[in-house]
């Protein structure tokens, strides 16, 4: 049964150095407060997989030296420009990059969700994305005729981490229409969630709420962290903090600036 943790750090204890950590795209509910707590804890050697893209979260973790391998389809700050620490790390060769494409990541999580070793995907053939993925296989579609198709091995994260609008005391999480969060939880050994608030009553008892609920059965631990996505958005709750992201983009352009960002916004607990 899920633990409703007393502190954020307690909830994050399932996320160990060196684990395969799955995180969602920026518009789905990124656990930014949790990410800052992991950096403060000094987490190391993460294999980070962002389904299917990331922004500030990957950039922060990379800049803080927490990431060994990154699998994703893109990292960018969107209208605030390139992700500076990601860009610098790839160019310096300090992280191992597994470039993917969005539907390949969705399919590989679904393979794990379904307990199958792989999933097929169209596209990809003739791309350098495929050429740089020795772990992907091209085979002939046995239902076709001289019809090559790519098979993607299942991605089985140790932990999925995200932020959601609410949980109940049984650890059920309301995720609304952000259904990749359900697939991520199914695909992962453990799922750690931060939420804006606790919902009194059982989410599964209300048919309307149940339709958008990840059952607590899949959840390892939950912590309440208001504005847990900040400065990223939580859909239908709060938008990007554009001013902050502008500041981040400016500071993170240099290592020194990034260090001062960490000092001010990550290590300074009051700001978390």
């Amino acid at each position: 049964m899920p633990m409703i943790a007393r502190t954020l750090d307690d909830a994050l204890s399932a996320i160990a150095d060196g684990c395969l950590l799955a995180v969602p795209r920026e518009s789905t509910g990124v656990g930014m407060a949790a990410t800052r707590a992991l950096i403060r804890r000094g987490i190391k050697r993460l294999s980070l997989v962002a389904l299917p893209t990331s922004s500030l979260q990957a950039d922060l973790l990379i800049g803080a030296g927490c990431v060994e391998t990154l699998e994703t389809s893109a990292v960018s700050l969107g209208e605030f420009g390139l992700a500076p620490r990601f860009t610098a790390a790839v160019m310096a060769g300090t992280i191992r990059m597994k470039d993917a494409t969005c539907p390949a990541l969705h399919a590989a999580f679904q393979a794990s969700e379904k307990g199958v070793p792989f999933m097929p995907l169209r596209g990809l053939i003739g791309s350098d994305v495929l050429d740089h993925r020795p772990d992907w296989v091209v085979m002939n579609n046995p239902f076709g005729n001289n019809d090559p198709i790519v098979l993607l091995p299942a991605i089985k994260p140790d932990v999925t981490l995200f932020h959601a609008p609410m949980a109940d005391r049984a650890g059920n999480i309301w995720i609304g229409r952000q259904r990749e969060l359900v697939t991520m939880a199914h695909a992962s050994a453990k799922t750690v969630v931060t939420v804006e608030k606790i919902h009194e009553g059982n989410l599964l008892d209300d048919p309307q709420l149940a339709a958008g609920t990840l059952p607590g059965f899949y959840v390892e631990s939950v912590a309440v962290v208001e504005r847990g996505c900040w400065p990223l958005p939580l859909p239908e709750h709060y938008p990007w903090d554009g001013e902050h992201l502008k500041e981040y983009a400016k500071l993170a352009a240099t290592e020194e600036g990034f260090a001062s960002y960490l000092e001010r916004y990550v290590y300074e607990r009051a700001a978390a």
């Binding site: 994703t72 969005c102 539907p103 390949a104 169209r122 969060l181």
Partner: protein, 254 residues
């Protein structure tokens, strides 16, 4: 016919011209999907929808209000795989003369000299969306290259590779190239008012076909401009407020 005489003062903005060209390309599609941070394709798609009285269906990604998706991030790609997306837009850090797009890096992959965000969904959508409109406002030898450093998605595929989609053309700030899938080559289809063939040639890094006389890109008709400005721009402002303010002066006083 509606084109103004050469050198006439334009009564439209560049963005309006590009959107008008794209709206014509969209044609009679049923469903157009527009990626994040693509205001001109979004403008064009909403214009096409306005002209078609509700058809095509337009999905503006990144805007929960303007997408119907309720099955998570995979639904866009599943929808394309089902053949239910007819038009999509792609750009690239580099685009080459065979229609290959590069969204990853320049130089050796392991030791790049420049790194872009990544391929996003291009390595799939380029294959399964019938009309992919390439879009790159910066028309230079830096962006339009002889051969991309990294192929996020190829412009064409061998006959036996499952491919129901691909590029139909490339629109830039200077011109529109159509793409010939058989020949795997671009053809200069029209040059935007105020730009010249010589300028296109000197700023394009790849070879392309061209007819003896290259027409001027057809300017938006007064009716198209009216629709864009009066009806479409206010809708667009909900998703792209800064763009709508800059191009159409909408919401400036707000």
């Amino acid at each position: 016919m509606n084109a103004p005489p050469p050198e006439a003062k334009k009564d439209f903005r560049d963005e309006e011209l590009l959107a008008s060209v794209i709206a014509d390309l969209i044609g009679d599609a049923r469903h157009v999907a527009v990626g994040n941070a693509s205001p001109i394709p979004a403008l064009a798609s909403l214009l096409a929808r306005e002209r078609g009285k509700g058809t095509p269906y337009v999905s503006l990604l990144g805007s929960p209000k303007h997408t119907f998706f309720t099955d998570g991030g995979r639904e866009l790609f599943d929808c394309a795989g089902q053949g239910r997306i007819d038009v999509f837009f792609l750009s690239g850090g580099e685009i080459d003369g065979e229609g290959n797009v590069n969204l990853v890096s320049i130089g050796e992959y392991e030791h790049p000299t420049a790194r872009f965000p990544g391929s996003f969904g291009s390595s799939y959508l380029y294959y399964v969306v019938p009309k992919v409109i390439l879009f790159r406002t910066e028309h230079s030898k830096r962006t339009l290259v002889p051969r991309v450093s990294f192929i996020s998605a190829p412009g064409g595929s061998p006959d036996n590779v499952h491919r129901t989609g691909g590029p139909v053309g490339l629109i830039t700030n200077r011109c529109f190239f159509s793409f010939d899938r058989q020949r795997k080559r671009f053809k200069l289809a029209s040059i935007h008012p105020g730009h010249t063939l010589a300028e296109v040639i000197v700023n394009t890094g790849f070879e392309f076909d061209r007819p003896p006389d290259v027409p001027e890109t057809r300017a938006p008709s007064p009716e198209t401009l009216r629709l864009m400005r009066e009806t479409v721009a206010p809708e667009l402002a909900e998703v792209y407020p800064q763009f709508a303010a800059r191009v159409f002066g909408i919401g400036k006083s707000a």
